[in-house]
Symmetry: C2
Subunit: 448 residues, 2 copies
């Protein structure tokens, strides 16, 4: 009899696993259950949908359930929620249209993703207050803007989603304020890099308030009217919460699967959980950090898709490990590009690594081009070995993706000397003769 | 007594060596002789000077002789030509203002660079026919354009300089034709990638003729009037030769220094020649190719500056090897970015490596952005091991510098599987969730 694989969760990780496995072994019978109305959509695009950069939600959907069935022979059921797992008997309970049924599996892939963190602030459930995770969130926010024409918005949280939402709200001309509880935006980067990001936000007309602790919301007629912080009361017709996510692992936890850091599901390098025939991928899963060697939780689409691919290979007869993650990430604030990979100096110290850092400013191309911009590069390296541990970049057009050079060097465990020796591309419209990444690395080369 | 270092040639390689050595060991007495009128200028910027992107030659000069003296304590003599070497007695003959003198050295650095290849075509020395190597070449071409207002130009040769000069001549509205002897432009890349580059040239209004063998030039009153090819006679008020360079190694050869590939000076990994106390760096020097392990000749500013730095370290007491080169290079043709690194499939075959290639087309960002462009990525990998051997990229804004990811992977001797596993940066304005480099690598991963 054909092997029956059930996927729980129809986003990038789960559907990548399904597609990869089915392509390699067409005999597999694969069924995916998704509790929401759509699968395989670009969650990272939601801010750009809100900001009118893209106008049709179907442009954000890589493949519909019908296409999965027709093109790949995979059954996808939306509006089907998996409510219980019976791992001992290899079955799961699925609810749809108010009724439930038990389904059996030979291999189970948990790809239930993450949910936005929403503190229990008074008034947080008022109308006009939104998280940004699902496509429906994006549709609701945009519809609200189009119908209600909010004049003022407050974005709570200065991480990726907060920055991207603030930028995209400005596309509507909405007066936008960003509140961050910490002393700097972008918590995965250093405060001095955060200052450059704040400059970019201010350049877009976003008011940024740091060290602002939200206490709750003023609500009238069911709608949010203002954000109360410890210091002030800020009028707001619209509030966007960008406070990060946590793994949606309650189902796995109830079934007895061991959880790890931040309650993410523990997996081995092959993405198997500790229970036979149960796999986990994507934002619900713990990862191995390639720099620290420690477990980490990084909810990013790149990681989810890579894990999905690896699980798909292994579900179809391979034994391919997933090497781990660096937390490489990028975004932009207007024309300013922001990227990071590996660990910061603070994280190095927390991991017990003796490290030092450098920060240089260079230019994105030779200075005589009219569109030259500054680029700031920060590198962290281990004292003694010179091994590169992490990097951060903020700069104009052409800056951000230079983080990939650092990420590749991190994966190869290169030293700063090896980065200086790299044969990177130079021409006047692209770089100085020493790439900014190498200019930074040079300052960390031990004196010989 | 202080050690006396003499540098022959005042461009990037020689002056990098001088600056690095002097910074580390201020007791060194360093003298540089340059036969031309300027030192330490950006030769790669000459096309952009001709094309009015930059208007002042002093913007192309990193440091003047006076600045070298004042800031670093290095003596730089322009218009001083080294005409003879007496390596046995550690001295060299310098000519200036018509007189010559012998100078002694403790360590000698040959950084005499390269000269443009100029075939002995009839009429090639006519006025209006230019090579593009020195800053004076650039000044002459631009002055000629400003004074004589040429209506038609022919660029001979479809390499980097040819492409860049064609683009920059179009900034003046000059009707420009590019002639290439081979069946494709950009000889360091594959013909199918060359086709994309021709499209970009045509988009700028450049007429491109391939397989055109130049036979000579029509000359009247001392000025070029037309280019004669085997097939046609092309009217031209201005002719630019972009036929590559060869090492300027005659001085070294006369002194008995062993030459290698293409008559470049042979050096060991520390950049020492085979004669004691004589070093060679930059465009006059042979390099070690990191992919083939064979000697190669690559005249690029990046290599020259890196070699200068390494020689400077070693002249001041270090023992640092220069690992070698990949031939990583980049340019642009209008908005089209062009880059390459490592070796092509043809070069792999010539080197006896069993290799295969892939070519994919992706997009520079998610498709809903109005400024999305196609990006074509070609990867070459060894059969069996899967080791990546080379890459080529042609695409819109944001494409070219992705070559650095491939170059870094090449330096680390990564396999295509390791490239697929890389944690590269993704956000909708920068990439698809799989970077185009990884999309290419995926197609080469052996079926598991």
């Amino acid at each position: 009899m054909s092997k029956r694989i059930v996927i729980v969760g129809g986003d990038g990780a789960g559907m990548s696993a399904a597609a990869q496995a089915k392509r390699r072994d067409p005999s597999l019978v694969i069924t995916a259950y998704e509790k929401g109305p759509v699968v395989s959509y670009s969650a990272c695009s939601i801010p750009y949908y809100v900001g009118k950069v893209v106008n049709q939600t179907d442009q954000l959907i890589a493949r519909t359930p019908e296409e999965f069935h027709r093109q790949l022979g995979i059954s996808v059921h939306t509006e089907h929620e998996v409510v219980d797992l019976d791992l001992h008997n290899q079955r799961l309970q699925v609810r749809s249209d108010g009724s439930t049924a038990w389904e059996s599996y030979d291999e189970l892939v948990l790809a239930t993703g993450a949910v936005p963190i929403v503190p229990s602030w008074p008034g947080v459930s008022a109308r006009g207050v939104y998280s940004v995770k699902s496509l429906e969130d994006g549709v609701s926010i945009r519809r609200d803007i189009e119908h209600r024409h909010p004049l003022t918005a407050v974005v709570v949280g200065g991480g990726y989603i907060g920055l991207e939402m603030a930028e995209n709200l400005r596309h509507w001309g909405i007066k936008t304020m960003l509140l961050e509880q910490k002393a700097a935006v972008m918590p995965t980067m250093d405060p001095d890099m955060g200052e450059l990001i704040v400059e970019a936000l201010v350049g877009l007309g976003v008011d940024v308030f740091l060290e602002e602790e939200v206490m709750g919301f003023d609500v009238a007629d069911g709608w949010v009217r203002a954000v109360q912080t410890r210091r002030r009361n800020v009028a707001a017709d619209l509030v966007i919460l960008g406070l990060g996510v946590r793994p949606q692992s309650a189902l796995a936890q109830r079934a007895g699967l061991p959880l790890g850091i931040k309650q993410a599901i523990k997996v081995d390098p092959y993405l198997r959980t500790e229970v036979a025939h149960v796999w986990a991928v994507g934002d619900v899963t713990e990862s191995h950090h390639l720099v620290t060697g420690q477990p980490t939780y990084i909810a990013l689409a790149t990681v989810a898709n890579k894990q999905g691919r690896i699980a798909g290979l292994n579900l179809s007869g391979s034994a391919t490990p997933f090497p781990g993650v660096l937390g490489t990430a990028i975004t932009r604030v207007g024309a300013t590009e922001v990227a990071r990979t590996g660990i910061t100096l603070t994280e190095a110290k927390e991991a017990g690594i003796d490290a030092k850092e450098t920060r240089i400013q260079a230019e994105t191309k030779l200075g005589y081009f009219s569109d030259v911009s500054p680029i700031t590069v920060k590198l962290v390296a281990e004292v003694g070995s010179g091994r590169v541990l992490g990097g951060q970049i903020v700069g104009g057009s052409g800056s951000g993706k230079r983080i990939d050079t650092i990420a590749t060097a991190l994966s190869a465990r290169m030293t700063v000397t090896q980065v200086v020796d790299l044969d990177l591309a130079y021409a006047p419209p692209f770089s100085d003769v020493w790439d900014p990444v190498q200019i930074a690395a040079r300052t960390l080369v031990p004196k010989l």
